[in-house]
């Protein structure tokens, strides 16, 4: 049952058309940040205003929505956004990755491989991968336009010089389709390989910065690195304490006051399915 007083999926139809136009352009130019007229949403910036607008623009009654936050379906952010869309868009919700048609996510890509026809919507805090290296927007746009990404490589050089390896672990910059440098949003670099030639459509929405970008299905996505310091993902000596998985991304949890630690899957749905 839809909440009365709101248009379907909260945003008015003109706004949704505007966002869809931005999405189409983003899909046409993979990795390019398309500006859009971001609206105020009923949640604070940083909680997923970009992702929620993208989802609102593409959701329909026949969709099944999954929302995760750091891999978990049961955290405040995920629960709130899921309930928001079931109220304003009358949409089925699920926690099962395989059943969802739209997955809105903050900081993770599900462990269960995505399939054709699925759309994954990322919430992005800072869409510009060069922002911390070059504060001027006019300059970063020029760098993108001319494909001048030497400065990003300089930041990796600094990391290797200081730590002996590329120490960046999340929001690890990627080059999409051999052209645009893109921030994959703050997902752990563990998830970067999943972006490469993924059969699902990836949409990225940044609400505060008012940018949308996309990676179409089966598009090559390469994490930048050095020839002698190649890109590597995180590994753990432990397995998940609940499901015993050695393949998934593990969170380290402190479980009592004496500092006992456990490693658990960050993807709650994946963990639960392995145990059922």
């Amino acid at each position: 049952m839809i909440e009365s007083g709101y248009n379907y999926a909260y945003l008015d139809e003109q706004t949704k058309r505007m966002i869809r136009r931005a999405i189409l352009k983003a899909v046409a130019v993979p990795g390019y940040q398309v500006p859009f007229a971001g609206r105020e949403m009923p949640l604070p910036y940083g909680w997923g205003t970009g992702g929620i607008q993208v989802t609102a623009a593409i959701v329909g009654r026949s969709d099944t929505l999954k929302v995760i936050d750091q891999g978990a379906d049961d955290t405040t952010n995920a629960v709130s956004i899921r309930r928001f869309f079931s109220r304003v868009a009358d949409v089925q919700t699920t926690t099962r990755t395989a059943e969802a048609t739209i997955i809105q996510t903050r900081h993770r890509v599900p462990e269960t491989p995505l399939a054709e026809g699925q759309i994954i919507v990322f919430q992005v805090p800072i869409p510009e991968p060069l922002r911390f290296l070059e504060p001027r927007e006019t300059e970063t746009r020029t760098l993108h336009a001319l494909s001048e990404y030497g400065v990003m490589q300089v930041s990796l050089y600094e990391s290797v010089a200081a730590h002996g390896r590329i120490a960046k672990t999340y929001s690890y910059p990627v080059v999409v389709n051999g052209r645009y440098l893109m921030s994959p949003s703050p997902i752990p670099k563990f998830d970067n390989p999943k972006l490469d030639r993924n059969p699902a459509l990836q949409l990225y929405g940044a609400g505060r910065e008012k940018r949308i970008y996309a990676v179409p299905p089966y598009t090559p996505v390469k994490s930048i690195d050095f020839e002698d310091h190649p890109f590597e993902v995180e590994t753990w000596d432990q397995c998940c304490a609940l499901c015993g998985s050695r393949e998934s991304f593990l969170d380290e949890m402190i479980v009592d006051d004496s500092g006992t630690r456990q490693f658990l899957c960050s993807d709650t749905d994946y963990c639960a399915e392995r145990r059922s």
């Binding site: 001319l146 030497g150 400065v151 490589q153 300089v154 050089y157 600094e158 010089a161 020839e227």
Partner: protein
């Protein structure tokens, strides 16, 4: 072998509103030649340099550059992409203020490696050894490789800036008062270094300075500017030993004898 000039400037004019910063400046710069531009503050030296390097659009005149990659090209009609490519492969630009020319929050090695990475070098070990090599060539200790320029003295910053620019073996270097603001003994070291590098690498350079001593030491030919115009030009020794224009005469006479 018939050589063509590396850089040909004709009738360069640049205005800032009603003020004319450069008026009808022209010269040829030949490969291996160092051209000095001297004059008092506000005479248009730096503006001229920025026009030549394509950092400022011209109001009149043209600059032709004999590029290795693209042949002889008119800089005004060059696209931004190509200009920037030239700027990081065939050109260097050493500014007076090292903060402009360096990334202050990046280590010395990163500063030297930046141009190499920008043209596609992706091997950390190679970058590191090249950076180390260049650091030694500009007489900075290898153990400063991972230090940031903020911890360097003024003279070291200038030398680091020179290394950062020369690492891609440019053919043409623009230098804007490379020794301005340094104390005299440090100046001497930087000048010594520049002179040997210019010889060794067969560099061509346009050097802007207000210091006639620097000009005497480094440059082959000299242009004297006043109020945006070139009032005298010729071989450096000839201009300094036998100045013709009254202003040049004052300039040369104003050097304090030690």
């Amino acid at each position: 072998m018939i050589e063509t000039p590396l850089l040909q400037a004709r009738g360069i004019t640049k205005r800032f509103g009603p003020r004319v910063a450069c008026r009808d400046v022209g010269f040829d710069l030949w490969p291996g030649e160092v051209l000095g531009v001297v004059g008092e503050s506000g005479s248009g030296k730096t503006t001229l340099l920025q026009c030549l390097a394509g950092k400022l659009p011209l109001d009149g005149g043209e600059v032709h550059y004999d590029s290795k990659a693209f042949g002889t090209i008119d800089l005004a009609s060059l696209s931004e992409a190509r200009r920037r490519l030239l700027a990081r492969t065939e050109w260097g630009f050493v500014s007076q203020d090292s903060r402009e020319g360096l990334r202050m929050n990046v280590s010395a090695g990163g500063n030297i490696g930046e141009r190499l990475m920008a043209v596609g070098e992706r091997h950390y070990g190679n970058l590191r050894s090249v950076a180390d090599d260049w650091l030694q060539r500009v007489e900075i200790d290898s153990d400063r490789l991972d230090d940031r320029p903020t911890s360097f003295s003024g003279g070291m910053r200038q030398r680091l800036q020179i290394a950062r620019n020369l690492v891609t073996h440019p053919r043409l270097v623009f230098m804007d008062e490379p020794t301005g603001g340094l104390d005299v003994s440090v100046q001497a070291r930087v000048l010594d270094l520049l002179r040997s590098l210019v010889d060794e690498l067969h560099l061509s350079a346009v050097l802007v300075t207000h210091d006639l001593g620097v000009a005497r030491l480094l440059t082959h030919r000299l242009m004297v500017m006043q109020g945006g115009s070139v009032i005298e030009s010729g071989l450096t020794d000839q201009v300094l030993d036998d100045p013709q224009h009254p202003y040049t005469q004052t300039l040369v006479a104003s050097i304090l004898p030690v």
